[in-house]
């Protein structure tokens, strides 16, 4: 049967196409119920346990070079942690690259402390009782930007290019299921199951994800950073695995971060 014969047969049955899905989300009682308890959960967030751990790791002399991270330059000068997280990703002249927070921390662990990037990248995500050091450290660093405005810079040409690249990767459809990041995060008011999907192309919604990370994830009871969030999104996207602390991840975080500029960062979050 040709397509047209088939469509004609359907039409003969006076079958009408379903009304298009609603473009604006109706008031969603499930979401409202979750929101009621969000403040309760945030008030006592196990993420604080990793803030403490991360601070120790930041200050302790470790690694082959027996150095602390207190000379690490997160963009505001060596050792300046306060406010650094909400201004990342940014361009770093010493490496000629844009780096996100965790990538920069790992860079400092490699250059200042002598750790091996390959070793860190072998097991970069939390599972069970294991939390990689960069995850604890980024939790500490992020907490030092609590209640500060997100201000990811776009003054250097490389920063603007990185944002553009992030936008293009965000919209890149591929894989067996034809997904891009935008498939789930390019429309307003959509859900997967009961989980809300912020539209990252919109300035008012992008912060809804960016602000919650690093986050204590109730599933598994582990601490996760944005590096993990990007990794697991690509898994769900049915893509191959993105490299840890790679240009692709930095570009996506640049896209999300800049789109969140002007909003107040609330510190490490708690996630479903």
């Amino acid at each position: 049967m040709t397509k047209y014969a088939f469509v004609a047969a359907l039409a003969a049955l006076a079958w009408t196409a379903p009304a298009p899905a609603q473009t604006t989300a109706p008031a969603d009682p499930t979401t409202e119920e979750f929101e009621k308890f969000r403040a309760v959960m945030e008030d006592a967030n196990p993420a604080e346990l990793w803030e403490v751990k991360g601070e120790q790791l930041w200050k302790t002399r470790r690694g082959p070079k027996n150095a602390s991270l207190e000379q690490c330059d997160l963009g505001l000068g060596p050792g300046v942690v306060k406010g650094a997280y909400v201004q990342l990703p940014r361009y770093f002249p010493d490496v000629g690259k844009v780096m996100d927070a965790e990538r920069r921390i790992v860079h400092c662990m490699v250059t200042l402390q002598g750790f091996s990037f390959e070793e860190i990248a072998k097991r970069p995500f939390s599972s069970g009782n294991y939390t990689p050091d960069p995850v604890s450290i980024v939790t500490f660093v992020a907490a030092q930007s609590r209640d500060m405005k997100i201000a990811v810079p776009q003054s250097h040409p490389k920063e603007r290019e990185t944002w553009e690249l992030g936008k293009a990767i965000f919209h890149y459809r591929a894989g067996p299921w034809d997904f891009s990041c935008a498939t789930c995060h390019g429309e307003d008011g959509k859900r997967i199951r009961t989980q809300n999907l912020p539209n990252f192309t919109k300035h008012d919604q992008a912060p809804r994800s960016f602000i919650g990370w690093p986050g204590y994830r109730m599933t598994g009871g582990v601490m996760h950073s944005l590096q993990w969030r990007m990794n697991d999104c690509f898994r769900q996207q049915r893509f191959p695995e993105p490299g840890y602390a790679s240009d692709t991840i930095t570009a996506l975080l640049s896209y999300m971060g800049v789109n969140s500029n002007g909003f107040v960062y609330k510190g490490p979050g708690i996630k479903r």
């Binding site: 119920e33 979750f34 308890f37 309760v40 989980q195 599933t219 009871g221 769900q236």
Partner: protein, 155 residues
């Protein structure tokens, strides 16, 4: 053994020295764990657990307030606030009826705490959360249903 008696026994040595001994790890954990009611914790039903705790005759009360989500965002971490408005409340016990082992814990507030507790529990499937309050040697109870659903991509 009655929980409040256990606290009194422990309270007998409750001086700065006791706290210091605890902090220094001098007291054997076995001493503190002696009264942990294994029979109740191992019970497969709320009724059996309540029997093991001596709560079998608990009467329904509107003076116990349970604040928990109607639908939990994640069954692994369900926030529960319990406040008892019953005068003389000495302890608050929690049972998650559909969990494999319903008895979740007892919070002793007889030694100077207000009759309130916040906890976060694992709820395997939609279930009533039952609370039993001990007050003046009597037992009171109420329950609230918490729904647990599938949240994310499921993969």
């Amino acid at each position: 053994m009655d929980r409040s008696r256990r606290i009194v026994l422990k309270g007998a040595g409750a001086t700065g020295a006791f706290a210091a001994a605890l902090a220094a790890g001098l007291l054997r954990p076995g001493a503190a764990a002696a009264a942990w009611n294994k029979g109740a914790f191992d019970a497969k039903t709320t009724a059996d657990a309540m029997k093991a705790l001596g709560y079998a005759g608990a009467v329904e009360s509107k003076d116990i307030v349970i604040r928990a989500p109607e639908i939990a965002e994640n069954g692994a971490v369900v926030p529960i606030d319990i406040t008892s408005n019953i005068p003389g409340t000495t302890s608050i016990s929690v049972f998650i009826e559909k969990n494999p082992f319903p008895y979740t814990g007892t919070f002793d507030v007889s030694q100077g705490a207000l009759p309130f507790v916040h906890l976060r529990a694992k709820i395997g499937e939609s279930s009533p959360v039952r609370v039993v309050v001990a007050a003046g040697g009597k037992h009171f109870t109420t329950a609230k249903e918490v729904k647990v659903t599938i949240g994310g991509c499921g993969g």
